[in-house]
Amino acid sequence: MRFTIATAFVTILSCSLFASAPHAERAERLAFFEKKIRPVLMEHCQRCHSIEAEKAGKLKGSLRVDTREGLLVGGDSGPAIVPGKPKESLFLQSLHYDGDIRMPPKGKLSDAIIADFAKWIQDGAVDPREDTKTVRPRSPADQMIAAGKNFWSYRPVVSPTAPAVQNKKWPLQPMDAFILAKLESQGLAPAPDADRRTLIHRLYQDLIGLPPSLAEVDAFLADSSPDAYEQLVDRLLASPRFGEHWGRHWLDVARFAESVTLRGLIFQEAWRYRDYVIDCYNRDVPFHRMIVEQIAGDLLPASSLAEQQRLRIATTFLMLGNTNLEDQDKQSLRMDFIDEQLDVIGKGFLAQTITCARCHDHKFDPIPTADYYAMAAILRNVQALEDSNVSRWVEVPLPLTPAEEKTFAQQEAQVAQLQAEIKKFKSAMTAQAAKAGKILALKDIPGIAIDAETAKKVGEWQLSQFSGTYIGSGYVHDRNEKKGEKSITFEPAITRTGRYEVRLAYASGESRAEKVPVSIFSADGEKDLAINMKITPALDGRFVSLGTYRFEKNGQSYVTISTTGTTGHVTVDAITFVPEEEATKKISAPAKKQPSPGDQSHLAGLEAKLKKLQKTAPKRPMAMSVKEEPKITEGTILIRGVVHNIGASVPRGVLQVATIGKPPVFPKDQSGRRELAEWIAQDANPLTARVYVNRVWHWLFGVGLVRTTDNFGTTGELPSHPQLLDALTQEFVRDGWSTKKLIRRMVLSRTYRLSSDGATLTRPADPDNRWLAHAHRKRLTGEAIRDKILSLSGQLDLTAGGRSFPANLASDYGFQAETNQRSVYLPVFRGAMPELVAVFDAADPSLVTGNRNTSTIAPQALYFMNHAFIIEQARLAAVSLLKQDGNPTDRAYRLTLGRLPTDRERSVIARFLETQSDSKEAWSAILQSLIASAEFRMIR
């Protein structure tokens, strides 16, 4: 719409303003342009903003200044000049260097030149450089979307009938007919079926990511029943190992990780999401349901507490981006966070590169910027971060079962009771300690003491004497309002460099805030603490210690107490900096009586009990999740994606080009996530089911029908078998979006069972094997390589789920997992990826990965040659091999390569054994070499 108005504007202007200027005046203004304006434009602007720049592909900001129309139509930020209105002209603003756009980039022009431009614009921006040919207003968004709907992936899914084929015996099901028909039309024939030994290995790896045991292979080879294969498929689909393997596929797409690279901060609760995904695959939760759960689980009704927990955990999906939480511009950080969410939603579910439209309309796909901000508006209605210097992701307590709730309630009651007891005892003690002792003068406090009254305050702080215990004339509190807008800062005059204990005095009580952020800046740097003001301060009922730090004479030192994120009153009485050597001294009130030693030890006992209880009792379980904002709003476009550059408003919405039928209506009292999710998950969405079916095809066959699994836009590839993709999609939707049924259909096809050996025959005709005359030979993932090694050494631990790192781990630096659980359970730390998995093309956990890389690099070879893990597992495998009966060579080959050795291979092994004196060493060497060998990492 913006552009249409701009175009209209140009027309009106050229008719009225310029035409009506008297001739002489116009001549004078033209001369001014030639003398003062044109040379500057040519010298300073046109290198990047002209037809030449456009032709060289170097045009910046889509703005041209080499024609009048270019300036009037403007660039990405809108019209560059508004004739007669210098103040409204972006061009002039940018010359002034006082906004986000500052031009020219090399340095501000002289004031005289800027004044010339102001005058020129004021006088109507007379400009002889007319050109309506090369500058065209951009096509309006509506047009772009209407045209876009003709692209294959935005068209509704059709129901094609299976094509006729010549070789009628070959297809086992309709799917095969689509493949065969294409092959026949290309003059190709399908390869023979793979042998049964190959098939059982292929099925095990593709369905559960583990090799079959030798007994399982033998049983399958011996099973002559006609449905042996089908039974095997069903067994594997029902195995709990299935979810571990297929869950990992989805975790690649969901860019699942358990830390951020910034300071290696740990996502303590992300593992719950991993377990949720595995569970979904094991229980075959319909995929459209999984979509809604992951985007809006917290907004869905739940029939049980367990379900409520599941749904809450599902939304961790929205939280896992590798965000730079330290960005100081918190508005910008928030938009980057949302951008990342849109990226994973867009690529993951829709295979759309939505985030390309953040700064401008999508250059290739029919996605206008307005669509981006319509979707961003939905996510702006939820809180995912709590702002701080290093912002923190939101965690919410999980709803509990009545039994658990009872345990936690009991324990919390115990804590409360102890606290009350301590409080009562203390107040009795302090009452005893005489009324005179309750109010202290500043001079009675040891150290460099500062009263709250004289500290630097931001926002309104109320002075109070209500508690009766205070220093100076009272303490201050924040009135429990305007949270986040108030702070109080103490700056001591340190006269001697040294270590000081910092103590904070506050007025405790039940109505107080629990997590009051306090930061201490010393020569040691900045330290952030949270103080619970419900608790009576430990020192004299008045002070808590904030720790001991080094402060320098005249150095930067301060303590700031803020109200950000607090609930309840924040109170501040005083701060004192006590030299370390004096820190043991008691605070002595003038007429204060010391409590008796008996009382003191009773109190100490109570406090120790409380501390122990708080430390040892289980923590309330939390989940990484979002919180709905209290106020629901619609959106605004941010011009060129800059948060401070606010453009037109847009209501919440979804991708228009992929909307068939009515767009969703968004409720006034909710973010709109549920409607967004339901729009994505609806049967009629032309993208979602196709994208998912293609992903499953890719994971099973090694190459998608659309090879760009995460991009179904115009820059992605076209499907090799569009009708087959639609047919499978229709069936998938009819089956209620069941992943297991979809997999079952695919693996029961004849196409899936083709041999991968036919490669050389069809190569010249179809070098990429797009027509699937034979199976693609796939590589094992790093996870599968590790699991296979652990299973052949007998070390695989099938314990499932749970947090797989110490609960108190603060950063991922140098972390090494010591577990033999399946690889999917290794912590996915972005700064400390499990080495084996990383070296074998792990999905980058910061990016949506539907299609992993396949590389052959020397570090993989070095890993197999030298890593202690491989050498040790090979040794253990050798020990176990030597305990078994039968031919060890056969056994070793079957375990590692899934086949019997050739005669030549037998003799290689025999010759090697002759050179070795120690059989354990010899077999360790053989197993290591087999594991390292090329075939080990292949799925044939």
């Binding site: 930067q556 972005r830 052959t856 030298n866």
Partner: protein, 473 residues
């Protein structure tokens, strides 16, 4: 423009035999192969002026006003409160200016060399080389905090996951040495983006940087992973020979299977790397004179001296992109003197002689001709005291880096900050421009060094960056 095709398919389609391409292919991975090019990398786009680069990363942000950007006004106005455009205040509150106490440089400035370039006595040894250095005083960047700015420095983006500069260079130029990784990061920091700062993001894995050791760790920890293992050399040899035989048999069953061949060949490469890399990494092969040139053996300079010497040995061996980090993995890394500015002196002592030694050594070996040495941090520091204390805050708005060798004009100073050193004002050079200029010297056009991912062409410089031709010789 690259089309992703599998390596073996490409080999078949182009009809080349495996043997001739084995090494090149292995060294560059196999997921993406450029068409019409034998070696799987893009460039160079034009005749390069430099073959390799050594980036000396001063993590945390060296104060430019205490080192190379001489501002007499800071001495004149020392101690006075004045209004500055503080990047942190601006980001947090939107406030354009805030009052701060001007702090004079703590080190004495003087003009040095024939060129008369200004330098303080913070780096007395490097000051002797000013006639070989090309100073940029008007650098500015994005990100006020370490995390964003460090990522911007390395990957050209404060937040988005993008390939690192070294990976881009590898993608553009490939490696000169097939027995060593082409992109090495010595003692990288785990913090502030950690591995992302030498990662490939969406570029193929082969362009990944190889970390040697860790920031703040001993130089002796600078090793290539899995180059050595628990086996004896005899065990290794016999297992390697057995593996070769097993591979021969596997290939016999599948003649012409290029994927199997490629894996077999990767072991040959690993074997050669194992044989050659230890020698390159072995500093004891250097003469005592050379070692002492780098300050090896002296307490203050031993560690960084070893790392610099290692950088020279690697560059001599044909490693394309070498980064040496002086820093650590903390939230307030090495040079981050928010308080206690004199601490800069300790860090300077640790790096001054090693860097000077590196420059001397490169020059006398004729390596400086085609090696770029880039010295700098993720940002500079403010000309005023942070919160009236004894330190300086981060300053992304204007700071100094220097470049040496590699076709940069020696002995010049380009661009300027304002009279206080707060903001770049004259001939401003953005970090994107610096990236573009360095790529240019390596023979790469930053606008053509693109990679198609998720439907669009990505660049190190995004849609920005100009080559600063004025500083090229």
């Amino acid at each position: 423009m690259l089309t992703p095709i599998s390596r073996r398919d490409w080999l078949t389609a182009t009809g080349c035999g495996f043997g001739a391409l084995a090494l090149a292919g292995l060294a560059h991975g196999e997921t993406t192969i450029p068409q019409r090019s034998v070696a799987p990398h893009m460039g160079p786009h034009h005749a390069p002026r430099a073959k390799r680069i050594i980036f000396l990363f001063m993590q945390g942000g060296v104060s430019h006003v205490d080192s190379y950007d001489y501002k007499p006004r800071l001495i004149q106005n020392d101690g006075q409160k004045m209004g500055f455009e503080d990047a942190r205040v601006k980001a947090n509150t939107g406030k354009q200016t805030s009052d701060h106490r001007v702090m004079k440089p703590l080190w004495k400035f003087a003009q040095h060399g024939q060129s008369g370039r200004w330098a303080s006595d913070l780096f007395p040894e490097v000051a002797k080389h000013v006639d070989d250095l090309c100073f940029i005083h008007s650098l500015h960047t994005e990100g006020v905090a370490h995390g964003p700015a460090t990522l911007f420095l390395h990957c050209g983006s404060t937040n988005f996951v993008r390939p690192s500069m070294g990976s881009w260079v590898m993608y553009g130029l490939g490696s000169e040495n097939h027995n060593l990784p082409g992109f090495v990061s010595i003692a990288p920091s785990a913090g502030n983006g950690g591995s992302r700062n030498y990662g490939t993001a969406f570029l193929p894995a082969i362009y990944q940087g190889t970390p040697l050791g860790r920031a703040g760790g001993p130089a002796s920890a600078a090793r290539i992973q899995n180059l050595h293992g628990p086996l004896t050399p005899e065990q290794q040899r016999s297992r390697f020979d057995l593996l070769r035989e097993l591979h021969q048999e596997q290939l016999r069953s599948r003649p012409g299977d290029r994927e199997l061949e490629a894996i077999a060949e990767s072991y040959e490469l690993a074997w050669r790397m194992q044989a050659n890399a230890p020698e390159t990494l072995d500093l004891s092969r250097e003469t005592p004179e050379t070692q002492s040139l780098y300050g090896i053996g002296e307490k203050a300079t031993d560690n960084f001296g070893k790392q610099c010497l290692l950088a020279r040995r690697l560059s001599e061996a044909g490693v394309r992109y070498i980064q040496v980090t002086y820093g650590d993995s903390s939230a307030n890394p090495a040079w981050d003197q928010h308080s206690n500015m004199p601490k800069h002196g300790d860090h300077a002592r640790a790096v001054d002689k090693p860097i000077s030694g590196l420059l001397t050594d490169l020059k006398r070996r004729g390596l400086l001709e085609d090696t770029i040495v880039w010295w700098g941090g993720e940002f500079g520091r403010t000309p005023y005291a942070q919160s009236n204390g004894t330190g300086r805050d981060h300053n992304p708005g204007g700071f100094t880096v220097w470049l040496a060798g590699g076709g940069f004009q020696p002995g010049i100073a380009y661009g300027a900050t304002d009279e206080f050193g707060a903001l770049a004002v004259e001939n401003k050079v953005h970090m994107h421009d610096l990236h573009a200029t360095i790529l240019h010297q390596l023979g790469l056009d930053h606008e053509r060094l693109t990679y198609r991912y998720a439907g669009r062409d990505f660049r190190l410089t995004d849609v920005h960056g100009h080559v600063v031709r004025e500083i090229l010789s």
